[in-house]
């Protein structure tokens, strides 16, 4: 086990039986689709003269798409997400009925806005009326006009949510002067919708009538209507109430204008003398949006004419946004927004109407990647009317600027700069993927969901958003609160994010937040409060070089910026003298191990949020490193093994230097290569320096043996090192002789290391163990021609041929290929693990080779060749196929394992684990027990062999650390010299497993968690119990009986169960057989 690659080790972590009962009884549950066969066209078909149509299609494919595969894939996807024609007809009929219903709603008498007694008790006004008192009078008049707007007409709605937007124009007589002020317009609109809702809710036509906030913006309630019966899920009609055009003077809503009076908002009777009112750009924008709905529709439908690619392009873009969770919530990058962006690019001639959907996607992503709308806004306004506000005015008021054709509305008003940067980051990343021919861009861009947990290195939650009220107070955000209609989450969020961004400046390349979302609600319920958005999630993407630095160096003490630095960091800031003699302000974070250093960002975040935003630590749930608890060892050591591995590697380096310089060796050492996982920093529990306690062992002739009376001694891993010897004519060319010479080398090495470096050594036939600095290194001599000699076969004609044999393959894996494995894990361990699980679960192992292009050692051509060869020879290749630059065609690490059943089970477990983990990590309010996914379910197995914990040498490594530990005969020590050689590589459980597998391999599968598992789980193989015709070679562990007068043999299960106990005498505590699970 010591030298197998990481993937295989992961696979062995816990007992993993093949999936499902169906499998064990011999039936495959999965659809057995045939493996792809190379396509065959007859010669005549291949070379027939092309029609002009076919030529253009082939040409188009070449020019407009990367490949025909991508073209076909996109076509399939579009079929999947676009609305079917038959459904459109049903929707149209539904819309007609709504239209006729709306005009029949009766008028109401005029009342004060605050007098809402005329409304039925069954409807609650969908608006947070705070403060309640407001001037103005309202009465209901049936809508002046109804018009379908938005994506439905343009044909760009995308499943799964088909929305049809209807603009309901409120007649002019409802409104009075000054309705633009103090939410009067908003209240009237809400009342208008309430009255409609009240009437429609009585109609049988609808399956549900509900309220929602448009994009979770509480200033804009809408009414949702769904058809009755099975069509309920098909479509959602959204009613937007909007004012008659020309009702308001646009200049009242310029970003610098105020429309909410402080005195009203603060409920003071008289305004303060002389105080200027602050601008309310978001409030203004929320009214303006309503006034331009119809003109936006016209604008977009003009764009869409003669532009077939737009529809496809928008569908792709919407899928892209959906997969990245960017298209829902307050300040989202909505489908409407992206349509406007495509229109902008068309106007700017970055897109032409000739383009295909794929090219629209590419150009739009290109634009997003290259343009920072939070710095240089864009505008769709054609004529430069000097009276209109300028882009600068918009930048003053909003973080992200994209002005609509009227020149008045900022389409990105609610978006935070951080959210835009995330969009930009994703666009950049996607462009890189599209340009990289090695990656299947289609899968990555459009088919793979990208939740925050798998996107960001660290994720943390703000458990109680109501704490943001305190933040608003602390940061003095009264004006923003007024502007946002009291929504403290929306008001505080941009400031909190920019605070974090400043605090993490060098460490993080991206600080992102989840979009606050409020679900729809029934019309008889009170509208949701601001705190109902649930926990807010923040994601951090680090710059690996700086993320874990312990020092935050500030300006020199006498500089004016020093004060600013001090106020920003508070009492954490202190004066320090640096090596160059300067005295600077600095913050030093406490962290001794790598594991703690990785969590410095957590310290920073907790400190800054407490200091500047008044958010207590208890409200923050940081899920950056929760999983690491599984690999932490010991009580005193808080690390996750990195330090231990560094010290192992130091000792190894020293040993390899000594080997290089060893005198009196007949041949020189040409290379020393460490192959143990600890030497490439990937061991789960790296060894720690140890010294044996003599009294614990049996002693004879200066040798220590485990004692039967005592618990099993602690497991000491031999760290395997391959020591390549110089090639020379002196080497024999015969495999038996080479083995002997190698044994002689092992003896000699032991002797020389003892003489020249006073190291305690113990030679054996296949290796020499060296005790050094408390570690055991296992030296293994290798001769580069040995595998070749093992392969030699002489054909009858006398020709020498090389043929892989089991022995040669094993030797090559150990001496040649294993040393190539290097660590390539970066970022945070947790996100790495989640992505690994996701890869396991979602990769199409059956139809694709997993190409790991380490250090980009493979060229395009090589990759294509790997894929082609893979398709051609699929049935002969391992079920899990990995290709690397050093191993392009044989997938040598997965040749033996996993089997098809195990892979299937692995995929299933990975999927479930991922789901469970993501659920837990995203739910800060519930109890989190991430170790859950590491505990295997045992009810699935046929037999459980319970082991005696005292005889499990690695019991301390188990997922749930044992409460009481036993002495295992070693103490920590790295300096011991001249000692008796400790007991090395003695693990009874592994020996037991080996014996079990040797004896019962054709009857059962054995599963064990090598990190301290207390149970060996046994699963009978699906065909084990089928009576076999009597044959001398199939008699292993079976008994003979007659069936229909034929001699057959069946497994002797009772005896085998007793064998489990006999073979594991002293180790096995009990054998628990679930006899009810099988029949013979």
């Amino acid at each position: 086990m010591a030298g197998s690659p990481e993937a295989a080790e992961e696979a062995e972590q816990g007992p993993e039986p093949p999936a499902g009962d169906a499998v064990r009884r011999g039936k495959r549950a999965a659809p057995t689709a045939a493996a792809p066969q190379p396509a065959k066209l007859s010669r005549a078909e291949l070379y027939k003269p092309p029609t002009s149509e076919e030529l253009t299609q082939l040409k188009e494919t070449e020019d407009l798409f990367h490949s025909s595969l991508l073209r076909l894939q996109i076509e399939e996807l579009l079929k999947e997400v676009t609305l079917k024609e038959t459904k459109k007809k049903r929707i149209d009929a539904f819309l007609h009925e709504i239209n006729s219903l709306l005009s029949t709603i009766p008028k109401t008498p005029e009342t004060e806005l605050t007098d809402q007694t005329w409304l039925s008790k069954d409807v609650k006004v969908p608006f947070l009326q705070v403060p309640f008192s407001v001037k103005g009078r309202f009465h209901f008049v049936p809508p002046a006009e109804l018009k379908v707007v938005g994506s439905y007409l343009l044909g760009t709605c995308v499943r799964p949510e088909i929305n049809v937007d209807i603009a309901v124009t409120m007649p002019r007589e409802i409104f009075q002067d000054k309705d633009n002020l103090n939410q009067r317009y908003h209240r009237k609109r809400a009342l208008y919708l309430s009255h409609i809702a009240q009437h429609l809710s009585k109609e049988k036509l609808f399956g549900s009538v509900k309220f929602a906030y448009m994009n979770s913006n509480h200033l804009k309630p809408i009414l949702l209507l769904r058809p009755q019966g099975k069509d309920e899920k098909m479509v959602t009609v959204r009613l937007h109430a909007c004012p008659d055009s020309g009702l308001f003077k646009p200049s009242r809503f310029y970003p610098s204008k105020n429309n909410v009076r402080t005195a009203w908002f603060m409920e003071q009777s008289t305004p303060k003398e002389g105080a200027t009112e602050p601008p309310t750009p978001h409030y203004n924008n929320s009214i303006l949006c309503d006034t331009v709905m119809l003109s936006h529709l016209h604008f977009l439908s003009n764009t869409a004419t003669d532009f077939p690619g737009m529809k496809d392009g928008l569908a792709l873009l919407k899928v892209w946004l959906n997969q990245r969770q960017l298209s829902k919530g307050l300040g989202c990058f909505s489908g409407f927004l992206v349509s406007m962006l495509v229109a902008y690019l068309l106007a700017k001639r970055k897109i032409v109407k000739m383009m295909s959907g794929y090219q629209v996607l590419r150009s739009t992503l290109q634009f997003l990647a290259a343009t920072d709308l939070s710095v240089t806004g864009i505008s769709l306004a054609q004529d430069a009317d000097p009276s209109l506000p300028s882009l600068d005015d918009f930048h003053q008021a909003f973080e992200v600027v994209f002005v609509d054709p009227s020149g008045l509305v900022n389409l990105c008003a609610d978006m935070t700069a951080s959210k835009y940067h995330q969009v930009q980051f994703e666009a950049k990343h996607s462009m890189e993927i599209l340009d990289d021919r090695m990656v299947d861009g289609f899968q990555v861009l459009l088919m793979t969901p990208k939740p925050m947990l798998r996107t960001f290195d660290h994720v943390f939650h703000l458990k109680h958003v109501s704490k943001l009220q305190g933040t608003c107070k602390k940061m003095q955000l009264l004006n923003e609160l007024m502007d946002r209609g009291g929504n403290y989450v929306a008001a505080a969020l941009p400031f909190v994010v920019s605070l974090l961004a400043r605090g993490l400046s060098q460490r993080a390349q991206l600080v992102a937040h989840s979009l606050p979302q409020i679900p729809e609600w029934p019309i008889d319920a009170e509208p949701p409060k601001h705190k109902d958005v649930g926990p807010l999630t923040f994601g951090l993407l680090f710059v690996p070089e700086f993320a874990a630095s312990t020092l935050e160096k500030g300006p020199q003490a006498d500089h004016p910026e020093a004060l600013e630095f001090r106020t920003f960091w508070g009492d954490k800031s202190e004066l320090r003298r640096f090596q160059d003699g300067s005295i600077c302000e600095a913050v030093v974070w406490e962290a001794s191990t790598v594991c703690q250093k990785r969590l410095i960002p957590e310290q920073i975040i907790r400190h800054l949020l407490k200091l500047h935003a008044d958010i207590p630590e208890s409200s923050i749930c940081y899920t950056g490193a929760l999983l690491e608890s599984v690999i932490k060892t010991g009580k005193e050591a808080q690390g996750t093994g990195e330090e231990a591995m560094v010290s192992v590697v130091c000792s190894y380096d020293d040993l390899s230097r000594k080997l290089w310089n060893l005198k009196e060796l007949p041949l020189t050492v040409t290379a020393v290569q460490g192959v143990h996982p600890a030497l490439r920093y990937t061991d789960v529990f790296p060894p720690i320096p140890m010294k044996p306690v003599y009294s614990f062992y049996n002693k004879s002739k200066h040798l220590l043996y485990p004692s039967e009376e005592k618990p099993c001694p602690a497991y000491i891993t031999p760290l395997k090192i391959i020591c390549h010897m110089e090639g020379s004519g002196q080497w024999p060319q015969d495999k038996g002789a080479i083995k002997r010479i190698k044994a002689a080398f092992h003896l000699r090495l032991a002797e020389l290391l003892r003489q020249q470096h006073q190291l305690v050594c113990r030679p054996a036939v296949t290796h020499t163990d060296v005790y050094k600095d408390g570690y055991i290194f296992r030296l293994q001599v290798a001769y580069h021609r040995e595998p070749l000699i093992l392969k030699e076969v002489v054909t009858p004609e006398g020709m020498l041929k090389y043929q892989d044999t089991e022995e040669s393959r094993q030797l090559e894996l150990e001496t040649l290929h294993l040393p190539y494995l290097t660590s390539s894990l970066h970022g945070s361990p947790q996100v790495g693990f989640l992505r690994f699980l996701n890869l396991l679960a979602t990769f199409d192992w059956k139809n694709n080779p997993l190409i790991v292009n380490l250090n980009t050692g493979l060229t395009d051509a090589e990759c294509t060749e790997i894929k082609n060869k893979f398709v051609a020879a699929r049935s002969h290749l391992p079920v899990m196929f990995l290709a690397t630059p050093k191993d392009q065609g044989s997938s040598m690490w997965t040749r033996e394992r996993p089997s098809a059943q195990i892979l299937q089970r692995l995929v299933l477990l990975a999927l479930e684990s991922l789901r469970a983990l993501e659920e837990q990590l995203m739910a800060p309010l519930s109890d989190q027990d991430v170790k859950m996914v590491f505990r295997p379910p045992l009810d699935f197995y046929d037999v459980l062999i319970h082991l005696n914990p005292k005889q499990i040498p690695r019991h301390l490594e188990s997922v749930d650390r044992p409460v009481k530990s036993v002495s295992r005969g070693v103490v920590k020590n790295s300096s011991a010299m001249n000692i008796l050689f400790p007991v090395v590589d003695y693990d009874p459980v592994q020996l037991y497993l080996q014996e079990l597998r040797d004896a019962f391999d054709d009857l059962a599968l054995f599963f064990y968690d090598k990190h301290g598992g207390e149970v060996i789980a046994v699963l009978w193989k699906p065909l084990s119990f089928k009576p076999l015709p009597f044959k001398a070679s199939s008699m292993k562990g079976r008994k003979v009986t007659t069936l229909n007068n034929e001699l057959v043999c069946i497994p002797n299960v009772e005896a085998i169960l007793e064998d489990f106990e006999i073979l594991g005498e002293g180790l096995v505590k009990s054998v628990e057989a679930h006899t009810e699970k099988w029949t013979i």
Binding site: L446, K1039, V1040
Partner: protein
């Protein structure tokens, strides 16, 4: 037990002179394994290691039952000369006399077959008659068989080699080997350039005029070189028909690719690979 009896009956019914012996590890086990024994028969009489009639062929020997235990089990039937165990039935090889203490060890794994060679043929029949008796015990008070922890500790002890012994063995082997290779080389040197009875001279890599090595790789290299030489001589895009051919070839390639892709898509569609969420 009843099941066992049925087994014996069935075995004899079939005409094969198989007998089933119940065997248990020790007294306290409840369910026995059954050893199937019969007289060893060889068709061609090639198996010299296991003389027919005197040899008992044993199937399904449990993993904890080694040669010693087996020989003790059958010693009540007659003097056991040797016990040979292997993974699957097959002709026994003449054992090398020079068995090494350190090299080429094959530890028996799992269930084995065994050839028990008795001194007298009568013992074979006696052994088969054991099926009528109660279960045999592998591990007894007087001769306990080690399993589990005590076995592993013992084999750990055994795995520690004595360097001096190892060195002595290696030296002896290598001396032998060197002698053998020296003899072979001397023989080759003597035959160098000397024609055999039919007049053929053997060309080796060692002579004055070394020939090509007789390996697969060398053969392939020669073929490759030939191919390259031919390719160099060929003129491309020289005639008009060659141009036409290239274009046709291009379209054919595109078509082939398209066809392949269509097939892949069909497969993916069948697996519902196009549902984004």
């Amino acid at each position: 037990s009843a099941g066992n009896g049925a087994g014996v009956a069935a075995a004899s019914q079939n005409g094969a002179s198989l007998a089933a012996l119940a065997v248990k590890f020790a007294e306290r086990q409840r369910s026995p394994h059954c050893l199937l024994v019969k007289e060893h028969q060889v068709r061609e009489g090639a198996d010299t290691a296991h003389p027919p009639r005197r040899t008992l062929f044993v199937l399904n020997v449990p993993p904890y039952c080694g040669p010693d235990a087996l020989s003790r089990l059958f010693s009540r039937c007659g003097h056991v000369q040797s016990v040979d165990m292997c993974d699957k039935p097959g002709p026994g090889e003449k054992k090398d006399k020079l068995t090494s203490k350190f090299f080429d060890h094959k530890t028996p794994k799992g269930f084995q077959v065994a050839y028990v060679v008795f001194r007298k043929a009568a013992a074979v029949q006696a052994a088969k008659a054991l099926s009528k008796e109660g279960p045999l015990l592998i591990s007894t008070k007087s001769h306990p068989v080690k399993t589990g922890i005590s076995k592993w500790i013992a084999s750990y002890e055994a795995s520690i080699v004595n360097p001096k012994e190892l060195k002595a063995e290696v030296d002896a082997y290598m001396q032998d080997y060197d002698k053998k290779t020296a003899e072979e080389e001397a023989k080759a040197a003597k035959e160098e350039g000397v024609p055999d009875e039919e007049g053929w001279v053997k060309v080796t890599r060692k002579g004055r005029k070394p020939g090509l090595p007789r390996t697969e790789a060398a053969n392939l290299r020669v073929l490759e070189k030939e191919k390259q030489k031919r390719a160099r001589k060929e003129l491309l895009n020289f005639y008009a028909w060659q141009h036409r051919e290239t274009k046709r070839e291009h379209i054919a390639q595109l078509r082939k690719k398209f066809e392949e892709d269509k097939q892949r898509i069909a497969l993916m569609r069948a697996q519902r690979k196009f549902r984004p969420y």
